[in-house]
Every structure is written in structure tokens, then in C-alpha cells.
Symmetry: C2
Subunit: 612 residues, 2 copies
């Protein structure tokens, strides 16, 4: 089977057993790879209603049909599981070198199930799979874990692992990888690994995927490289990664401030590209990607001087910056490093901290709940301190480690009003009131408020055509478009950046996919669009099976009731009802947000139609 390695590795931690299963061609045709295959596996295998931190949860790691080939930006890897943070189906994406290495070892997917008796790591060396003792490295941060595991296995091996946060079952702990720590951060995959006593999966592979039509594949590759080079966004991405967007996006009404109060942030100019680029000392990138959006920075002043680490992304400049009223870049950089060390999602961590600051401001919690800490907007020193307490579940950190939704429930006293999440997943650095389709995606995505699963390039970049971000009309259609397109791209598992900027298109992907696999159906972009919609609906179906239907497509009160306080979106709210109604209609879902039987049959999901 060209393009594919054609094998699934099932790792049963309870019985220390590894088995290899074939991937069926009819499944590949319908779900292509990556996210599609993972969703299908979870639909087939995940028992509804189980606790996400029980041995019954499954962790699926996937790659795609272009992984490890010369196609650019298509060698990421994906983790899919039932999320301990949201209770939903979840998909979280990581970068670095692990994806390519897993492919080289001969696998399209790993299914991890059960629970190891003691801390364990799994070492996959091509066909050879070992269950190894991880007692010694349990408790170690990710940097040390990487060093120890490379020494114990192979210097050129790559891995996914957890830090202390995952071991401590922090609900938004990350699955971290060794290459520049390009983490599958969201949704608590780290806690799923932790609950299984699984510290790491280390992979070393020696095979290479073969493509069906070398010449056509090479042509498609060259077309992609040309497209990258001629794209106006390429240079910005290369020079500063997502950081080039921080200040411009702030002025567009994204990069929300003060836990989404959206007051003016004095000193936001500190985030201008000219200033941020002064910190950069090195570029880095994922396997097979010429963008090299990773930036290594150094700090030369303040209490964290001497620190050198991967630059915070746009999101993290926000979560520890604007979101907390903080304009001290040094603390953002340092808190970001701590999150990588402990294995934490920087977005949820920052939002949880903002939530705590606002509760303190409103008098809902006091010093007795914060272990004496004063929580104030814009105070840089408390940020690294709270990151630590969350990762290690110390004092108030233990409460925040549950995520804002659960923490608010526990606190009561109206705290829920300040918990900014959908379905339990904390918001990223976009304001639904400043970009309505973008917000509509937060409301309806299968994983909660994620910007990665339907980033609205219409509204934000005017790509492929401009859409008024404040309007409500036509938003269902463009939301569906980007959600389905993302699902297609993530069958690869393509990085979403080049799709957002149209450096890669679905038409281009179809050419690559056919040249790589020789599967006739893939020639036709329409087949891919149908597959994207199919995957998105299947994910929705998994949630509905869990009892999570349209009632959960719910924005926080602040977003639907409190108007934005600053320009250009001053006065805007999120018109939830109108927007959702339009969206459900476009999707072919009923008024409860459930896909109709007709829609499911149209998507060749007959079996799903029967079960729902």
C-alpha cells in the first residue's frame, strides 16, 4: 500500500502486550488517515460513559499518508482520546520529529489501552516493542525525561512524554514531544497518559514510506515549495513565527484582555514584531517544514536573565500576557518554559490564572483560598508561581488544575460567570464578539473552544474572500467551510498554518495524495471535502453518544451579554442564538445540534445513523 505503512500498533498496558493490526483499505478510502482514522477508531472502540482517567479510555496516536515524505508541513502527529477536561471526544496536535519517526517505524497509528501497574514507558524500535520501567524517571520534568530516555534508548529516537503535570492528572496537562517541545497541549492528553502510568512512548524507525508515482509526487512537492516562497505570509512566519501576529491582531480586536473584559491594554505596543524579534537568537522547525516557525529567544535582563527557550506562540503571549493585563515579556517567556517543563497547556493555564485573578478582584475568593498570595492584574511575579502550583497541585493550584469549569463549580458563589470556556475547554486568544464565525467554531467544535479546528481565515485574513467579522449573516457557511477543510488537512496530518494562508490548498493536497497512494478516489477534491465533513460529523456523533449535544454549544455569559469595551469591536456581543441556528441549518443538523439521519447517510455514515 503506497504512502501508508498500513499498520496499527495496539499497546495493551494492563497486560504488557503489543499487537499489530492491519489498516483496511475501505477505511482508508473513507477516512484517509490521521484525524480521520483516529476518530473512526474512537467511534468503534470507545465505550460511552467511561471516566476519561480510567483504564478504559483509549489514547490514539496517528500520522498520515504524507508523513515522512518530502511534502512540507505534513509530518505532525495527533493524539485523540476522551478528554478529562471536557468529557468530549478530543483531538490535539503536536509537531517536532515524533510523527516522522513513528511512520519510519512502520505505523499509521498507535492505540494505547488499559493501565500499567507501575510507571512505564514503551520503546518501539521498528517491530520490537518493549515495556520498560519508568519509576526512575517518574517525577522528572520533560527536559530531563528527554535526556534520560535518549540515553536509555537511542540518541536519534523521538518521543512523546508527560511531565509532572500529567503525572499529577492536571486536567489540562499536555503530551510533550522532544523536538523543540512542540506539544499536543490541549484537552488533558497528559493526564490520560498519567492515568495509565505511561510516562513516554519512544520510537526509533528505520523504514521509509514509498510513493505510488514518484514523478507526479515530485511535481506536487515543487508546486508546494513555489507556493510557499511566493506567499506574502511566508517571510513573516519564518522570521517570527506566530508572534508576528500578536500586535496586529490586538488592534483587530482579537488578543482579548483581562479575562475577556476587553479593556484597553496599556503598553500593548511591547508586543510589536520589531520588539519581539529582538529576543530571537535561533530558528527551529518541525521535520520536513521549510517555514521553521519555531523561534528560540534569550532573556538578558530581569530575574530570568540567562533563560533561553523556545519562544512563546501568539497564544501564550496572550494567555500569560494580555489576558492577565501583563506586559512583561520576560515572565511570559519564563512561564512558557515552565509549562513545557511541567507539561501544561499554556492556554488553559493562563486562562485559569486569569479566572483566579478575577475571582480575587471580585472578592469571590480571598487570601485564605490563595495561600496568602495577592492576585492582581498585571503583576508579573505571580504568574510563574501559579504555573508551578497548578502543575504540582499545591494550594489554589490544586483547584485550578481541574480547569475553570470544574473549579467554578467547586467554588460556587457565582464563579461560573468568570470561567471562560466552551464545553470545559478554555478560550484561546480570539474574541467571538470580534469575529463571529470564529466564535461560532468555538461554540460548535467537537472539542470545545479551540482556534485550531476551524480558524476562520475569511474573517481574520480575508482568505479566500473577505467576510465582515461583526456581521451575523452567512457565518454558518464559512464556519463549516474552515471546519471541514481543517478536518481534511488533518487527515495528512498537515500543519494548519499553510492552509490558513492558502500556501497549501485542498486541490494541491488531492494531487499529493493521489501521487502518494495511487488511490483513485483521492484524485477528486470533492471526495476529500466529503471526507472532511464525514470526519467532523463522526466526531460530533461521538459526543452525542456521550450525551453532549447542542445544549453544550454554549458560550460563557460574558461573551453573549457583555459588550466589548475597546475598538474596533467596541459594543459587540456574540449573537449566539441567531448564529447557531444558521450553522445547524447549513450543517444539516436538527435544532438540538444532532446530525440528521439524512445527513449521516449522505456522508456514508449509515452505521452511525442507526446508533444515534
Amino acid at each position: 500500500m503506497y504512502g501508508y505503512m498500513g499498520k496499527i500498533l495496539r499497546i495493551d498496558l494492563t497486560n504488557k502486550k503489543a499487537t499489530v493490526e492491519p489498516l483496511k483499505e475501505e477505511v482508508l478510502k473513507k477516512f484517509i488517515g490521521g484525524r480521520g482514522i483516529g476518530a473512526k477508531i474512537l467511534w468503534d472502540e470507545l465505550k460511552p460513559g467511561i471516566c476519561p482517567l480510567s483504564p478504559e479510555n483509549k489514547l490514539v496516536l496517528t500520522v498520515g499518508p504524507l508523513t515522512g515524505t518530502k511534502v512540507q508541513s505534513a509530518s505532525r502527529w495527533m493524539a485523540q482520546f476522551k478528554s478529562p477536561l471536557t468529557g468530549t471526544y478530543f483531538r490535539s496536535v503536536g509537531g517536532g520529529f515524533f510523527g516522522a519517526e513513528l511512520k519510519f517505524a512502520g505505523y499509521e497509528a498507535i492505540i494505547v489501552e488499559g493501565k500499567a501497574e507501575k510507571p512505564t514507558y514503551v520503546y518501539i524500535n521498528d517491530e520490537n516493542v518493549e515495556f520498560r520501567d519508568a519509576e526512575r524517571i517518574w517525577g522528572m520534568n520533560t527536559l530531563a525525561t528527554r535526556e534520560f530516555l535518549k540515553e536509555e534508548t537511542d540518541k536519534n529516537a523521538h518521543m512523546v512524554m508527560i511531565g509532572p503535570a500529567g503525572e499529577n492528572l492536571v486536567k489540562f496537562s499536555a503530551i510533550v514531544t522532544d523536538g523543540d517541545f512542540r506539544t499536543a497541549a490541549r484537552g488533558g492528553g497528559g493526564a490520560v497518559m498519567g492515568s495509565k502510568n505511561l510516562k513516554a512512548i519512544v520510537v526509533k524507525g528505520s523504514k521509509r514510506p514509498e510513493v505510488y508515482d514518484e514523478k507526479a509526487f515530485d511535481d506536487a512537492f515543487k508546486e508546494q515549495v513555489e507556493s510557499y516562497k511566493s506567499n506574502p505570509a511566508f517571510e513573516g512566519f519564518h522570521n517570527l513565527g506566530t508572534n508576528f501576529a500578536v500586535y496586529p491582531f490586538y488592534t483587530l480586536g482579537h488578543f482579548p484582555t483581562y479575562n475577556f473584559k476587553q479593556k484597553e491594554l496599556y503598553g500593548a505596543e511591547i508586543f510589536q514584531p520589531e520588539i519581539l524579534s529582538q529576543y530571537v537568537v535561533k530558528h527551529s522547525g518541525c521535520w520536513g517544514c521549510m517555514i521553521r516557525c519555531g523561534k528560540v529567544f534569550k532573556l538578558t535582563k530581569g530575574p530570568y536573565a540567562g533563560t533561553v527557550w523556545d519562544f512563546p506562540e501568539y497564544e501564550t503571549h496572550w494567555s500569560f500576557g494580555g489576558n492577565l493585563g501583563n506586559i512583561n515579556v520576560e515572565t511570559i517567556v519564563y512561564a512558557n518554559m515552565l509549562c513545557d517543563f511541567y507539561g501544561l497547556d499554556t492556554i488553559s493555564t493562563g486562562v485559569a490564572i486569569g479566572f483566579a485573578i478575577e475571582l480575587y478582584e471580585k472578592g469571590i475568593i480571598g487570601k485564605s483560598e490563595t495561600d496568602g498570595l495577592e492576585l492582581r492584574w498585571g503583576d508579573p511575579d505571580i504568574i510563574p508561581e501559579l504555573v508551578k502550583r497548578i502543575a504540582l497541585r499545591i494550594g489554589i493550584g490544586d483547584l485550578l488544575a481541574e480547569g475553570t469549569r470544574k473549579a467554578a463549580e467547586k467554588i460556587g458563589r457565582g464563579a461560573e460567570k468568570y470561567a471562560i470556556h466552551v464545553k470545559g475547554l478554555e478560550f484561546p486568544a480570539y474574541d467571538p464578539r470580534s469575529a463571529k464565525a470564529h466564535g461560532l467554531n468555538f461554540a460548535t467544535s467537537p472539542i470545545g473552544a479551540s482556534h485550531c479546528i476551524g480558524w476562520n481565515k475569511f474573517e481574520i485574513m480575508g482568505i479566500p474572500r473577505k467576510a465582515d467579522p461583526f456581521a451575523t449573516e452567512g457565518k454558518g457557511e464559512i464556519t463549516k467551510y474552515v471546519q471541514d477543510e481543517t478536518a481534511i488537512a488533518e487527515t495528512a496530518i498537515f500543519c494548519i498554518f499553510p492552509f490558513n494562508m492558502e500556501m497549501v490548498t485542498i486541490d494541491m493536497y488531492a494531487k499529493m495524495l493521489y501521487a502518494a497512494t495511487g488511490i483513485e478516489e483521492f484524485k477528486d477534491p470533492k471526495h476529500l471535502w466529503l471526507a472532511g465533513e464525514r470526519i467532523f460529523n463522526l466526531e460530533r456523533a461521538i459526543n452525542i453518544r456521550e450525551g453532549i449535544d447542542g445544549k453544550y454549544d454554549k458560550m460563557p455569559e460574558r461573551i453573549v451579554k457583555e459588550p466589548v469595551l475597546r475598538e474596533p469591536s467596541k459594543g459587540q456581543i456574540f449573537e449566539e442564538e441567531i448564529l447557531l441556528k444558521d450553522y445547524y441549518k447549513v450543517r444539516g443538523w436538527d435544532e438540538n445540534g444532532v446530525p440528521t439521519r439524512e445527513k449521516l447517510r449522505e456522508l456514508e455514515l449509515d452505521e452511525v445513523a442507526e446508533k444515534l
Copy 2:
């Protein structure tokens, strides 16, 4: 020339010029190598009276005639310079892999002089010497510096470097090496590099030293290995490094408490080997040493959980532990890691912190001097905070960064009484009142209160024969013995541990040295003993030329006036006058501590005799 590579590399930073000079055989015969050669170079080249942080200071790095051979524990490297902390001649020793690599590149010594115009690092690849821009890495901690420089040069290169503390000219900043950060910590070598705008010297070598008589050399090597294996101290050293000594030494009256108040330390049992060994997850060692005394530990609880780093030595458990009334191992371990990152001497740093705590306790300084920080004995949290402030010269850290002697002068108000140093060098973890010859070495060593330059195995271990530690009689003789023996061992540059435990002896060294070099004179241990005494006297002569004579062989008031408060040395003081008189006599020095002409001539230091 067997054993030797026979070359000195002179690096002129001002003019970016590297020149190679031969090493003369008559110099080698008299000074052997390592510390001997370095002292000779400084005697010949160091202009008296210069500021240690001026371009006129010289930094000499040396290795010895056994470096890079299979002889065990003989591949350390040495830094010699005029110390910005003490104003004296200084010698500081480091481990890891740099020594062997320097030898492999073909050099016995490097002389660094002048000052680079901008931050620079030097890359030595055999004969090829490059002066490279270090702007980008200036400000980086040592871990990041190592990573960047290995990438920019050669993955297998080794280096000496400074961290932010050296750049900030902290007077007790260290020269750090890449292999497990086995630092030449004492005396401010880091500041000397910093003052020269020299971030690092990176070395990659491809040659191997040849020995004169392979068979005899191999026999000597085998004898050494047998001696190691049969020595009762070997296992303890291997299992726990110097940490095996912490608790036993405390009970013997060493490991002084509370800035040498020597009160009982409640909870000192925490330092028992059984408890400390629970932290160890890995052994590590220097090039060519089977002891592998380096221990890597991990922290699994408290605010520093997830940390994995090289274990603190005996000294550091004291400087951040007993010395501060602190029994929290986690903070010791973390503060130790920070010192490695910033490039700080852990001994002087801990003593400076103890000094500050006592000044605060006595009301000599208050919150206005400490930037609001409360300084209290046994408070673990202030320790990492003060380490940072010292390295970065923030607030009170800026004052303490000058060393306790200078800080006390600046503060006035009787602060000097609590500055525990000789000649400006802060005390290590031994109390002169509990081991008088050990103390006598602190008073008379050319570099100030160092435990490494005359560790009194008679008193502490009963090796080669027992000496009552509290007695004053006969202490001159045994002090001279260990000082001279250390000087001999450090011509190699042997690690001092195996000599302290008599795993290696001077007789054994003579055999190795002759087999390696073929130099007849080295056959005779008496020749070596004379060389050791010669080197020690030459170092003394450098100091005297700087105006530092017997008047500076001066203990702190506390040591000579305040009796120890705890058993077994309760009531003891250090009888300075009696002890020094005896020592000067044994040394053949006059009542001002100046070597007599006769003594210098006897040591074939005629030229020195004339100049003094």
C-alpha cells in the same frame, strides 16, 4: 617529548591573535606540568599590582603529563589567574571532559591575555584557532550556552564558559565546563573571563598523547586500578560521591552551622547517606575516572519537583544547608542548579548568604537594604532568590556579589566580624577549631580558605597516620605535608580525592610519570616532593610580590575568639599564633611568613630569591 604535547597556546584577545610557543624541558623537569607550569607562567608574566579585572590579568588553563591517558582521575584541568575576590594568585580546578580534549588538541597550557572588543568565544580545533562573535550567546545561562556552542562548533567538542554571573563580574563567579558542569568554581575566574569579554573557549582535538614505556605505564595503571578496587572508600565515593561524608562529618565537628556559630543543627539527620541516596537516579563521572562520583538526582516533591540535576557536593549541602540552618534538601539542590546555570561558586554564594542573614539578625542591615526581604536562618525560600540576585547583581545581591570581605567593608558598622574568610576567600565546610591543621591550611594557603589545596587527611581520616584534630603540636608539619602533596598531585592534574584516600600515592605517581615521559628525574619520589614544595613556595612568592605576606594569614575573629558551641569540639578555638609560628618554622619562612633566601635557593628558585 613523550607524555607532553609540548605546546603552549597564547591567545591575545585584544589583537585576536593566537600563537604557539614551545614548552622548555628544563621548566618541565622543575615544574612537571599543570599547576606547576601555570604558577611558573604567572610568576614570569603577571605584572604585579594590576587590577584582576583589567586586560593585563592573565588566565592560564593547564593540563598535565598524564591527561588523556588511561591513568585514572588525572584528566582534570586548572585555571590560574590573579583573583578579583582575593587579590592573590589563584588556582581553581575543574573536571569533566575539557582537560582531555585540550590535550587531544595538542596543548599543555593556554595563556589568555588582553581583552576582546566585543563578546567573543574562541574555538580551538587542533591547530586552527578562531575568534568568534559571542554577542548572541552573551547573557545566556551555561546550559543554553553549551547547547548553542556545540551546535556552532562540533557536537563532540568540550568547553569552558561563563554564565551571567561571570558576565556581571560577580567576584566569585565560576568557570563552568560542559561535562556535568564540573566547575572551576572558586576565586572568580568567571569574572576574569567576563572582564575579557570571553564567553567560552571551545576545544576539539584529534591527537592522542604517546607514552615512553607502554609496558611500565600499563603496569602502573593496573596497580592503580587494583588500588582503587581494594580501597574501602571507593564504594562510598562511587555510590554517593562526597555526599556520603555529610552526616558523619557533621558529627565530627566539621560541616559548620549558622555561619560558623556552630550551634546544634536540629534535623541534621536528613543528610544521612541513606536519605540522600534516595534522590540519586544516575551516576556520572569525569573523563578517565572509574570512581564516577557525580550523582544525578531528581526532586519529586515541593515547589521544585521535576528538577533533575547534578547532585550538590558535600560542600554545597553545607553552604546552602547547615551553614544557613536549612535542612530542606530540595532548596539546596535547586540553588545548586541555579549556581551552575548562572556560573557561581556555591561555597562563596552560600557563605555570602549566611553573612547577610547574620547581619540581618544582628540588625546591622534591615529591610531597606534587603529590598524588603526578610532574611532568616532556616528559611529555604530565600535561598534560590538570593542566588539569583547575586548572579544578576540585583539589590542586596549587588553588594554580596563583591564577596563577604568587600561587602563588609562597604557596610561598615562591625559587619566584618561576620565575614568568614581568609584573604577574601569564603570558608568551605570545615571548622578550623575542629581540625587545627586543616585550619592552618586555610590560613596559609596561597589562595585563601580553600579545603582543596591542603585537605588534612591526617586529622580527618587518620591517613597516613592519626593526628588529634584538637591538638596544636606537630600541625605545621602535617599541614606542609598535605599542601606539598597536593601541589605534586596537581602537576598531573590529578583529582585530589584519590590522594586524600591514598588510592594513589606519590610513589605510584612517580612510576606513572617516568613511564609516561621517560624523564629520569621523575623516577625519584624525592624529586616530586621537592617540586611540590617549590610550586607552593613560588605561589607564596607571587603573593608576596603583590604585598600579601604573613599579615594576611589571618583567621576571622569568630574562629580565634568564639569557642565552638557543640560537641565534639565544644569549647575549642583556633590558636592562631602558636599554630602559625610552628608552621612558618617548618616551612623555612621568616616571622612575616616570607620564604627565606636559603629556602628558595634550596628549592632552586634562585631568581625568586633575588626578586623578593
